[in-house]
């Protein structure tokens, strides 16, 4: 056994051991610790394996043909592309596991922690194996293990109806993906017993065009529903808030990325890329997802639902990058296409870091205040300074503000879109500037949304007693958040270095790189291939830091006198939280501007005094935004199925004569068809 496969064995053993040993733990606390310990060992194993593969470029291959040999056996093949995603899983998993020890402390004695342990470690195992799988069976097995365990994790706090609804939506959508994945893979298989990815690669090459298109569309729908593209994202805003926060962090930070992984694996690795319209479709889907994701996020006042919609947005951004890269590759502009792919992969990594950070931060808030409703939060920056600071970093990163990592990856994606002007066909090229506009609008709205999220939740005065009594969470939780915040910063300023290693990953997938190696880029700059455009996040950070420090020093040297006073309240004395701006009020202008899209249902009722209608007793105003595509897509679907089911129910009428008549009728039909067959 080589060292590489040893690390993989360590990974599996860690996850499985943690889950198994949790049953032997004497107390709930012990179970929590053992779970985390197993997860840590597993994640470290995974990280080691991923790092080895990324550095050496030699794939780790392990075959266990005796397990379920009729379905092709278990085949593990970790290459650079898989290793990138394995690294993501392991890194975020590591932090989430440690965070989870304290976060799940409140479950002691109230919830089956050992069951939770099995599901949590099983979830990590499933996700890790998805990135390692190298045949159909292994992939689907891992994929579904990931889905099922995460379903149970989502259902952890099952007392509320919302959670149960969420769980159902989630598992239904995830099964929808599986149902599409099966034919997708099998269409590529050259024969029934050739199901490794290497076979599929060969099989896809000889596939007729229509079948290739079919495979691509199936992949887009299947992996897209996992990744959360509009309109298949409906489970995200339901499931992420329902799950415990460190699980949401994993789901949103990593699991949905495996949808991206699958899409890249199938479209660009197994099929080696496709015609222009594939890229065009990806670009369109990405743009729509990005814009709608952020628009619906703006309307959400639940911290975790808001974050969930932002996952939709960021998946959209990643798809924009992939789509742009794919189109550029299709026109032979491989060096430019690579910018798109690099940006997309980089954004994948970045989103994992800042979204995990934000979910962990939200988890800290929810653990302390027992609510994720922003209208009941506020003032937390004084009670939970570390959490607030980390959350602020995450917010800035997701809003693509320099010099953090979100900016670096969006910069690359912007550049790849600008490169679209090199495309000779105007009707294709014209899509790129429009995507630029959408992406810019998206990031502007994202900034607005995170001003709301951070500003309403953490700033000003507490809006409820819970918020007023909040404390900083346990140090282990805080440390994980700070580590992730640091990660956002480091990934930002070290972007050029990250891109260098991402380039090596792109080189390893011919469908992405088109076989053209890239010239090594400078260490400090992100550059375009023509070398004319460049940007250095590190130098921007240094510049900005230097200016701020200089000004601050100058001001303090002069002597800065500060006096504390009340906030000005138009002369009214005594500030109350009721005077503060609310999250709904904050989002009101945008809701009005995009009312065509939101189509809010509004209900205004005013009760007046009997004497005169000018003396108002109370005003009640309620307004709801229900995403229109839920009405447009899902309602008719469920209604149709129900109608069919009602018809079918009639078959079982209860009369035994009717039943016998069915038998007779079936006999007649069978005889008739036998006759017809002659």
């Amino acid at each position: 056994m080589s060292a590489e496969s040893g690390t993989l064995v360590l990974m599996v053993a860690g996850f499985a051991g943690g889950a198994g040993l949790a049953f032997l733990a004497p107390s709930d606390r012990g179970a929590r610790l053992v779970t985390a310990l197993g997860a840590i060992v597993g994640c470290l194993g995974g990280l080691a394996a991923a790092a080895t593969v990324i550095v050496t470029g030699r794939p780790v291959i392990a075959v266990l043909p005796n397990l379920v040999s009729s379905a092709g056996g278990i085949v593990i093949g970790l290459d650079r592309l898989g290793a990138l995603f394995l690294a993501l899983v392991a890194a975020v998993g590591l932090l989430a596991a440690i965070y989870g020890v304290s976060y799940t402390a409140e479950y002691d004695g109230r919830r089956p922690l050992r069951f939770f342990a099995v599901m949590f470690n099983g979830f990590l195992l499933g996700m890790s194996l998805v990135a390692c799988a190298a045949n159909i069976f292994t992939f689907l097995l891992a994929w579904e293990v990931m889905a099922v365990t995460s379903y149970f994790l989502v259902m952890t706090e099952h007392e509320s109806d919302d959670t149960r609804q969420a769980g159902l939506w989630y598992i239904a959508m995830t099964h929808f993906a599986l149902v599409l994945l099966l034919p997708m893979f099998l269409l590529m298989a050259p024969s029934a017993d050739a199901t490794t990815f290497a076979d599929l690669r060969l099989g896809a090459r000889v596939l007729p065009t229509a079948a290739r298109d079919g495979v691509f569309l199936l992949a887009l729908l299947a992996f897209g529903s996992k990744a959360g593209i509009v309109p298949l994202h409906v489970w995200l805003p339901r499931a992420h808030p329902a799950a415990p926060s460190h699980v949401s962090a994993l789901m949103s930070g990593v699991m949905i990325k495996l949808g991206i992984y699958g899409l890249i694996r199938v479209t660009f690795d197994l099929m080696g890329g496709g015609p222009t319209w594939w890229g065009g479709l990806l670009l369109t889907v990405g743009s729509v997802s990005a814009l709608l994701g952020v628009l619906y996020a703006l309307m959400e006042h639940d911290l975790k639902r808001l974050l969930a919609y932002h996952s939709v947005e960021n998946i959209g951004i990643i798809l924009i990058g992939i789509g742009a890269g794919s189109i550029l590759n299709g026109f032979g502009l491989h060096a430019l296409g690579r910018i798109g792919f690099a940006g997309a992969l980089f954004h994948t990594v970045n989103h994992a870091s800042f979204k995990a950070l934000l979910f962990l931060g939200a988890g800290g808030v929810i653990q302390q205040t027992h609510t994720g409703n922003m209208e009941e939060l506020g003032g937390l920056i004084k009670r939970m300074p570390y959490t607030a600071a980390s959350f602020l970093v995450g917010s800035a990163a997701i809003a693509a503000l320099p010099p953090l990592n979100g900016f670096a990856s969006e910069w690359l994606i912007f550049q790849s879109l600008l490169a679209g002007t090199h495309i000779p066909r105007p009707e294709v090229a014209i899509g790129f500037p429009i995507a630029v506009g959408i992406l810019a609008l998206t990031s502007g709205l994202a900034a607005a949304c995170f001003v709301k999220a951070f500003g309403i939740s953490f700033l000003a005065m507490p809006r409820s007693d819970h918020a007023a009594r909040a404390q900083e969470p346990h140090w282990s939780m805080r440390t994980m958040m700070l580590l992730l915040a640091g990660g956002c910063g480091v990934l930002g300023v070290a972007a050029p270095a990250v891109i260098r290693s991402l380039n090596s990953i792109i080189d390893s997938v011919p469908g992405l790189s088109a076989g053209e190696p890239v010239a090594p880029s400078p260490r400090l700059w992100l550059t375009m291939p023509d070398g004319m455009t460049q940007m250095s996040p590190l130098l921007i950070a240094v510049l900005l830091g230097a200016i701020i420090v200089a000004v601050a020093l100058a001001l303090h040297v002069r002597g800065l006198r500060v006096r504390r006073a009340d906030t000005w309240g138009c002369g009214r004395i005594g500030q109350t939280p009721r005077m503060e701006y609310t999250a709904s009020a904050f989002a009101e202008p945008l809701r009005r501007i995009f009312s065509e899209l939101y189509r809010p249902t509004e209900d205004l009722s005013i009760s007046v005094h009997g004497e005169s209608r000018y003396f108002v007793r109370s005003i009640t105003y309620t307004s709801h935004v229900v995403p229109w595509f839920e009405k447009a897509f899902y309602e008719p679907l469920t209604r149709g199925v129900h109608a069919c089911a009602t018809q079918v129910r009639r078959l079982q009428a209860g009369y035994v004569h009717v039943y016998l008549l069915y038998v007779a009728a079936a006999l007649v039909v069978a005889l008739a068809s036998a006759w017809w067959f002659q």
Binding site: I381, K382, A399, A400, P402, F407, W411, Q415, L418, T421, P426, P433, V436, G437, L439, A440, L441, S443, G444, L445, A447, A448, V451, K452, G455, L459, A460, M461, M532, T533, Q534, M535, S536, L539, I540, L543, L544, I547, I548, V551, A552, L560, R561, V562, R563, R564, A565, T567, W568, G569, Q575, M579, Y581, A585, F586, E588, P589, L590, R592, I593
Partner: protein, 313 residues
């Protein structure tokens, strides 16, 4: 090395000039409205006085409130050091491009909006909400203007754009360029809180945007915020001036060229400032919910700019 010093010098010059620009607009507006008005250098007095006063900070506010003025000023200065003002920065050593400029400015706005919320004052929240709305809606226009420029220059590198336009003056008069300029000008008005989007000279609760956000600031903090805002306006005008009509800008460090650059820079700024002043005396402030119409108009302009550049290629 000398280039870096030159950039440092021009940045400092811009920082120094910024209050005068605001003062000049105010003065000209007053004149156009038939008032005497304060002298153009009045803002310097104000800033000096503010620096001398003590700062009053709300009990409700956190460290973020105190950090924000530095962030706002810092981003403005950083941006000023990235854009071509008097001389075009070297094309071999560039820290950031147009996107970096836009997002650095967004960083400042982001913190300013947060600070608006931090005091718990309803005005702050109102300002923050409106400011973020306007900024979000201007982003696509900005980005598309960048595309229009980049289409010509083949790069978002500022000095490249400047160099290209100097090399091919005919391009500057092309429809794409002009439309993009118009779009960017509207964005400049919106981003800097000028009429018809926001009125910088009133403190009327229901209409103010930028002023509502900074309502709680006082003393040195207010000075930094105001100065940063002025600098931001200057940077925008400089971008409009130098990217679309870069003539006169210094491409070498020869004293004559630098002098020429300085003079042309001031002249261009003055012309644009005058345009703003004239505009501000002629138009009324738009209702808040009419602003998106203006911004979508600017977006259409930018889109047309891109289209026509495409077709002209």
């Amino acid at each position: 090395m000398i280039r870096y010093l030159a950039i440092l010098a021009q940045t400092l010059a811009a920082v120094a000039l910024a209050p005068a620009l605001v003062g000049f607009i105010r003065w000209l507006k007053a004149r156009l409205q038939g008032r005497t008005g304060a002298a153009p250098w009045q803002p310097y007095y104000e800033i000096r006085k503010l620096f001398g006063k003590e700062a009053v900070v709300s009990h409700t506010a956190s460290w973020l409130f105190k950090a924000t003025p530095f962030m706002v000023f810092g981003t403005s200065v950083a941006v000023a050091s990235l854009v071509p003002l008097i001389l075009a920065p070297s094309d071999s050593f560039v820290i950031g491009d147009l996107f970096a400029v836009v997002y650095l400015l967004l960083l400042g706005t982001f913190f300013l909006a947060l600070a608006g919320l931090d005091t718990g004052s309803p005005f702050g929240g109102m300002g923050a909400s409106r400011e973020m709305t306007v900024v979000a809606l201007t982003e696509p226009t900005v980005a598309l203007s960048i595309v229009a420029l980049a289409l010509n220059a083949g790069s978002t590198n500022l000095s490249q754009i400047v160099a290209r336009t100097i090399a091919e003056p005919s391009m500057a008069l092309g429809p794409g360029h002009l439309l993009a300029f118009a779009a960017l000008f509207i964005v400049t008005l919106a981003e800097n809180g000028r009429l018809p989007v926001d009125n910088p000279s009133t403190h009327l609760e229901l209409t103010m945007i930028h002023e509502a956000m900074v309502l709680e600031y006082s003393g040195p903090y207010l000075a930094l915020v105001e100065w940063g805002a002025a600098l931001k306006l200057l940077v925008f005008l400089a971008l409009a001036a130098n990217l679309f009509m870069p003539w006169g800008i210094a491409v070498s460090l020869a004293p004559a060229a630098v002098l020429m650059g300085l003079v042309s820079f001031i002249v261009k700024l003055a012309v644009l400032a005058a345009a703003i002043a004239v505009l501000e005396t002629r138009v009324a402030k738009l209702r808040l919910f009419r602003v998106p119409e203006l911004l979508s108009a600017s977006f259409v302009l930018a889109l047309l700019a891109v289209m026509s550049t495409f077709l002209a290629r």
